[in-house]
């Protein structure tokens, strides 16, 4: 049994989190679907816990199920007290599951059980049914109730077709659509997973598509049809397998595709894979460099091999990256519960809106974001939003509003937390910072407002007058800023007194393979991420401008920055024609004057370690095929 514990814990936690989430949603708006969903989660936890012999959890889940069942039959209102009790039970089960995870027997929650029981009785007029827990039943993996499918047309073999849209496809949704159409032409499509609606909405996890088709021509025809679609591979095709039957030998058996479509792996394993895939790419480019020293005649063969290796390594890297992409919903799903708890404790009325939770980011970034996001949200409710009377007096709606928006913009993801509260006190922050000797009054007077707000990120400079257990003390924003910067992001604060505050995390999408433009400045080779490069021009001189020289490009005049100067190197005397790299920066495009364009290379970004990660303007480091380390520049930060 013990080997199932990890699996049990992971799944139970998911169900319990969902249970908590559903409860908060339900409190706002009661719907039969939500009640059903509650019931299913409680039911799943009960079944799993019972199979694991974890009676206290199963019993509690059963009682929750009873209460939800009463709700389902519309026996009694859905009030705050009920939601409170159910949330308490959910938390208790979570505690029990954590105990089980660390090998401790979960403690029975007698008091809670009897309170739940009383409520069930008062609502239904019947005492709750005694719970019975089957011991030592093997806990089965997967096994969602199969939904009834339309009867297949007779005589056509029913086939399970598992396909994968290759990661290189730039429009996987449309690919899936083409596949569906191809297979529809062969006979009758009985089911598509994910559904076409989901695909249209952009959901095609790992590019996998499974279609059940009754096809006239059988397996051979399916193979032929799929082969006619580019950027797609056929993972397996075989006779539809009845749900509980013995395994049937398949034509192209795929170890995973036919029975279990997903497996859980330890997150660290994915980290290791990524590291290894990255090293593999580096080793390949090293091999390529070495090949250049071979005599001309021997090169093509080696190069062909290296090309193939590179292709494979890159594909693997891409797949690992793909497997690591996690929707931000993992984090934002916890927010409604936090908001509810904080709001209740502080006696505030708050509406939370979350938008864009489906946007995906590398797992390591999502993980790193959980705490900062919760903290910012707590801050917003705790310090940002005023109490109902104050709001009313200042002509605002009584209920406060917090909106979390996730947006993707090119290769960045922005996560914004905006509230319509009282805003931040920039002057107060400035005074507090001066009082603490963080900066001089003169320096403070020169800082723009946006910078003054960032003072709240310095340890101890918070202006929160009332420090609660929820947030405050100014240690928080400091930690938030560091966490965001650690994953290569940036923190921005905007605030208008009386109108509200907006905290923005600007995050990188991945820790991916990067295309670099290599340039030389003052003898140093440096890397510029190609995603930020708008173009390269060679010019004989620049035009004088206000403050700094300007470069005419198309119809625009771009400010020119010497890369060497930016980095504190000595700028070489520019004579004659020299190259300029046109790059995106926060305040519009700029032209970077460099000495030489060295070339383009695909590299694996390595994170900087201390103390290098403290230097602004360095995005990372990489090792070129030649073995030479090169710093990758974060030009927007270098300029700011």
């Amino acid at each position: 049994m013990s080997r199932y514990v990890g699996l049990f814990v992971a799944e139970a936690v998911e169900h319990l989190e969902a249970l908590g989430r559903d409860l908060v949603t339900l409190e706002q708006k009661r719907s039969p679907e939500m009640v059903d969903s509650l019931f299913r989660h409680a039911h799943s936890v009960k079944g799993m816990a019972a199979s694991m012999g974890l009676e206290p959890i199963a019993t509690l889940a059963h009682r929750v199920e009873d209460l939800v069942e009463a709700l389902r039959k519309d026996e009694g209102p859905l009030d705050q007290a009920l939601v409170d009790l159910l949330l308490e039970a959910t938390d208790a089960m979570q505690g029990q599951v954590s105990a089980a995870a660390s090998g401790q027997p979960p403690a029975p929650s007698t008091a809670l059980l009897s309170r739940l029981g009383e409520l069930v009785q008062s609502r239904t007029g019947r005492p709750p049914a005694p719970t019975r827990v089957a011991q030592n039943v093997l806990f089965s993996v997967g096994g969602p109730e199969a939904s009834p499918s339309p009867p297949p047309p007779p005589d056509f073999p029913l086939l399970d077709v598992h396909m994968r849209v290759l990661p290189s496809s730039q429009n996987p949704g449309a690919r899936a659509f083409v596949l569906h159409r191809k297979l529809s032409a062969l006979g009758t499509v009985l089911s598509v997973e994910p559904s076409l609606e989901e695909v249209r909405a952009g959901a095609l996890p790992e590019g996998r598509l499974c279609i059940v088709v009754a096809a006239r021509g059988g397996v051979a025809q399916v193979r032929q049809a799929v082969a006619q679609v580019p950027e797609v591979e056929l993972v397996s095709v075989g006779p539809r397998r009845p749900v509980a039957a013995e395994p049937v030998a398949q034509e192209a058996p795929h170890p995973l595709a036919s029975e279990v479509r997903s497996v859980r792996v330890r997150a660290e394993l994915l980290d290791d894979f990524l590291e290894l895939a990255g090293e593999l790419l580096l080793a390949t480019s090293r091999l390529r460099e070495m090949g250049k020293r071979l005599p001309e005649a021997q090169r093509p063969m080696l190069e062909e091999g290296v090309d193939r290796l590179h292709g494979l390594a890159k594909d693997m890297h891409g797949r690992v990256m793909g497997a690591r992409m996690t929707p931000l919903a993992v984090v934002t799903d916890q927010l409604p519960r936090t908001v509810r708890d904080v709001a209740r404790r502080r006696g505030r009325e708050v509406d939370l809106e979350v938008e864009g939770a489906e946007v995906e980011l590398d797992r390591s970034i999502v993980d790193a974001l959980a705490d900062p996001l919760l903290h910012v949200l707590r801050n917003a409710i705790d310090h940002g939003l005023e109490d109902a009377e104050t709001r009313k007096a200042s002509g605002k709606p009584q209920r406060g509003r917090v909106k979390v928006t996730v947006r993707r913009a090119r290769d960045r993801v922005m996560v914004e937390v905006a509230d319509d509260g009282r805003g931040m006190d920039a002057e107060g922050l400035s005074a507090s910072a001066v009082a603490r000797g963080v900066l001089t009054a003169e320096a403070a007077a020169r800082l723009p407002r946006s910078e003054l707000l960032l003072l709240s990120c310095l340890p101890g400079v918070s202006t929160a007058k009332d420090v609660t257990d929820i947030s405050g003390r100014g240690v928080g924003m400091d930690a938030v800023k560091r966490a965001v910067e650690r994953v290569g992001g940036m923190l921005e604060l905007e605030s208008e007194p009386g109108r509200g505050t907006r905290v923005t995390f600007r995050l990188p999408l991945t820790v991916a393979v990067l295309q670099l433009l290599l340039v030389q400045a003052s003898g140093e080779v440096l890397g510029l991420p190609i995603t930020k490069v708008l173009g390269v021009v060679e010019r004989d001189g620049v035009e004088p401008g206000p403050g700094r020289p300007l470069l005419r490009h198309d119809a625009a005049l771009l400010p020119v920055h010497g890369l060497a100067t930016l980095l504190g190197f000595e700028e070489r005397e520019a004579l004659g024609v020299r190259p300029f790299v046109l790059m995106e920066a926060d305040k519009g495009p700029v032209a970077l004057a460099v000495d030489v364009l060295v070339g383009q290379e695909e590299v694996v970004l390595k994170a900087l370690t201390r103390p290098l990660d403290q230097l602004p303007g360095l995005a990372g480091v990489t090792i070129l095929g030649s073995g030479r380390p090169v710093f990758i520049l974060d030009v927007p930060r270098l300029l700011s």
Partner: protein
């Protein structure tokens, strides 16, 4: 016999590029059109084996042109050349009857691989 191709795109450099790709691979580029209305006319005249169709074009866009061509000629093989970010339009074009699509910027080999597949020249 070489397969006959009609290229529809409002950008002349895209047309030249596609022409070069197809001609070098031994296809017969029988015509070009610069917008949707012309595309429908040229299709009627030429009855090509393969039509490459840009989406955003003046007068009549690629989705409408595809719909019109496929409505009267259900066997027509129209492939969409879309730019990144036009995912929704590509789906629309596929619903309108396009056989397949490539996403710009593409490489010659991508275009040819797709052409061979949709024309059934390679299984």
């Amino acid at each position: 016999m070489a397969k006959r191709v009609l290229i529809v795109d409002d950008a002349s450099f895209m047309r030249s590029m596609l022409r070069e790709i197809f001609v070098e691979a031994g296809y017969d580029v029988v015509g070009e059109a610069t917008h949707g209305v012309e595309a429908v006319q040229r299709y009627e005249e030429l009855r090509p084996d393969l039509t490459t169709m840009d989406i955003v074009m003046p007068y009549k866009n690629g989705v409408e042109a595809t719909r019109e061509i496929v409505r009267t000629h259900p066997q027509a093989v129209v492939v969409i050349c879309s730019a990144l970010g036009q995912e929704a339009l590509v789906l629309e074009a596929l619903e309108a009857g396009a056989a397949d699509f490539v996403v710009k910027p593409f490489r010659g080999e991508d275009v040819l691989a797709m052409a061979r597949k949709v024309l059934g020249e390679e299984a």
